[in-house]
Amino acid sequence: MSAAILSVRDLTVKAHLDDETRILLDAVSLDLAKGEILGLVGESGSGKSLFCRSLVRLLPSSRLKIEAGSVLLEGQDLTAISDAEMLNIRGGEIGMIFQNPSSHLDPVMRIGDQIAEGIRYHQGLDGKSARRAATEILSQVGFPDPICQYQSYPHEFSGGMRQRAMIAVALSCNPKILIADEPTTALDVTIQAQILQLLMELRDRRGLSIILITHDLGIVAQTCDRIAIMRGGKLLEEGPKRQILSRPRDPYTIKLIHSHPSMPDAEPVAEVAVAAAPVKPILEIDDLHVRFRVGGSLFRGSAVKTVSAVSGISLQIMPGETVGIVGESGSGKSTLARAVLGLTPLTSGHISFEGADLALQRQASLKKLRREAAMVFQDPFNALNPRMTIGQTIGEVLLVQGKIAKADIPQRIDELLDLVGLDREFASRKPRSMSGGQCQRAGIARALAVDPKLIIADECVAALDVTIQAQIIDLFRELAARMNLTLLFIAHDLAIVRNLCARTIVMYRGEVVEDGPSEQVFSRPSHSYTASLVAAIPDINPDKSLFSDARRVPQSIPSIKSMP
């Protein structure tokens, strides 16, 4: 291994709160070699982001202090230098990119100018040559028309292009080290694969060293040279990728590897419960169209355009089925869910829930739906009223639905909490004092309080850590089996759907392109779009390369974002 460009020794960060001092980083030591990609893995709260921020002394609060340790960047101790010198290090030596590119790009500044700004400041070039350099960087990070796109604003780009722009901004100062904090978490799988590939190309071309922070071991397996596992502010394990993945020592690492959904030995999907028995479908969708109006105004009524979110979907869902709906963001899967629950008006077509037609008898069907279908939302914190305790939230549903006597409500709340694996004392807690996983369990308990036949879960694990994701998936599997629920599970994470659902529906541009048993959809996809989605899943086995030509994402499929 070449000499370390960055060497961190016993870095300790403490938080000085009003009444206590908490250790957030506990003597973390790491080395980063030139041209190396280091994967920093851990759940939220493990200190992985804090670690990277303390390298450039960008601590999120003045109450946090670096107490001990050293950060040696090519022999210079970054913990000892002055703030003025630090300005040159940030950006100039160490560049950073973040999870959410939209909030880290200036919305009122042209993309190109944001890149040129760093070049002028750090490299001292004049306006014209900075502009040329910025254009060059734009083309390096994969903008097809850099000269023209130099003039564009962040909102004109898709998430993936914005992330490319973020990388371009970070590269503008020609850093030696790039810290990428969950750079692909907010992106679709196919875009994620492209961004990861870009990072690896940049490493090869520029000899960049990269610290890649992620919670997805699949990404690490595909891109990194070495892996470091963090938990609770401590570095648990560190070593070459293959060694960690094949012979993990720490029990937490083992758990992390086993909860990764792409594991090939994942138990076979629950056998198709609904046999050929001639049952009536619980949900029937027939040629459904949902269009939204965009643009147009009071004075230019004729300029109103419509965007089709769902165009011509026909589906039948049988009682007791577990159906996964996958697709990129913008493919219309959430709109479909909302339309089914009567939260979005239908443009044309029919949805009938147990024979009640939402298009023809809207009021009656809505009444039926509200009493027999429930939804679980993506963001567990946002889905619960922050001012109400979990007991109040669940109790209110029971009260309004009126399916059980008022006196029995407290007992039913306890039962529901047991069912979703929450302690009964959570009835008196508010969402603020709970973790994401606990909130999501409470959200599921609220859905179950309706005593529904159909549950629609919209990306309900996307915001959770991997090990928590696995727990929630297990909970859904158990509930569906025990209560004979029909589950419509919407996700962009194909591995999860493959794990949980017996049947998979693939949506693309508002249409269903594939529908069939999960095993078949994933192993023998019949539509090229499905094939590209499946190929873009980062596998935890480093030998199944995401970037080999055989699995290369076909470029012929246009992204949803580029549609007219």
């Binding site: 009567g342 939302f377 009223n385 209110e396 309004v400 639905q401």
Partner: protein
């Protein structure tokens, strides 16, 4: 505009003093004035409207710590009694606009469309006139007096609350928990007043404290112009007005009631700021 100035001016104070210190300080100032108002008959050394020809325009001294006015009335006693009127003005002048504005804002934000458009155009119309001009014209039509002032306040003051609440509701109603409430079959009233309003109201509560300052000052201004509290009743604004002709010879007549207004306003203001911290409005 002045509400903004108030909140800016003590943004510096907030960092200067701690969060809890601010809350205690604001509440103490307010409590001090409330106690003063409640126990006015017990603590005021003189009758506030009793004229004493032998003790006219006396400078502050031991028997008259704040001096006397041109009718020989004790300024300290008048300030103590005036606290009753001024607190009442601040309270009633805030409560009615607050309630009206909250309801209008919630309904407009929640239903949107034509309901929203109608209410918001009414708001625009009211905002098109300068605040004080509108106040004065309404009071002139209704006839001078405190009750006219309250009515004018209720008619004009609700617009800020309505706009504040409406903006919050517009954001909150797209939150997942609001959508969840719809999908669970909750009624509109329940969603509006149990799920959305409690989460939207914190900002208005904080604003109401700054608003109390404005109401207090406009109450004083209206009284100063002779349209509010009528003499000889002791009210700080009236006292400032009465003292102005003697400002060069008897500065105390104007200074002490003026200082009282400032102190009470300051109390409301820092209490509002501390409440904002407490309710998480600034986050």
């Amino acid at each position: 505009m002045s509400a903004r100035a108030v909140s800016l001016s003590h943004a510096g104070w907030r960092t200067f003093l701690g969060k809890r210190t601010m809350l205690v300080a604001g509440a103490s100032i307010l409590l001090f004035f409330i106690l003063m108002a409640v126990f006015a008959p017990l603590i005021a050394p003189y009758d506030p409207i009793l004229q004493d020809g032998s003790a006219r325009l006396q400078a502050p001294s031991l028997p008259h710590p704040f001096g006397t006015d041109n009718f020989g009335r004790d300024i300290l006693s008048r300030i103590i009694w005036g606290a009753r009127i001024d607190l009442q003005i601040a309270f009633i002048g805030v409560v009615f606009p607050f309630v009206i504005g909250t309801i209008v804002g919630t309904v407009a934000g929640f239903f949107g469309g034509i309901v929203d458009a109608v209410f918001m155009r009414i708001v625009d119309i009211i905002l098109a006139f300068p605040f004080l001009v509108l106040m004065l014209s309404i009071i002139t039509i209704l006839g001078p007096g405190l009750s006219s002032f309250y009515i004018a306040m209720a008619l004009v003051g609700w617009v800020s609350y309505a706009r504040l609440i409406r903006a919050q509701i517009l954001v909150l109603k797209n939150n997942d928990y609001a959508v969840a409430a719809v999908s669970l079959g909750f009624g509109r009233m329940r969603i509006m007043f149990r799920h959305l309003l409690p989460n939207a109201i914190a900002g208005s509560i904080v604003f109401s404290m700054s608003d109390a300052v404005l109401v207090l000052l406009s109450g004083a201004a209206v009284s100063y112009l002779g349209l509010g509290v009528q003499p000889p009743v002791a009210e700080w604004g009236v006292m400032v007005a009465e003292g102005q002709s003697f400002i060069t010879t008897a500065w105390w007549i104007t200074l002490f009631p003026g200082l009282s207004i400032v102190c009470l306003a300051f109390g409301f203001s820092i209490l509002g700021d501390a409440l904002g911290e407490l309710l998480g409005v600034h986050e």
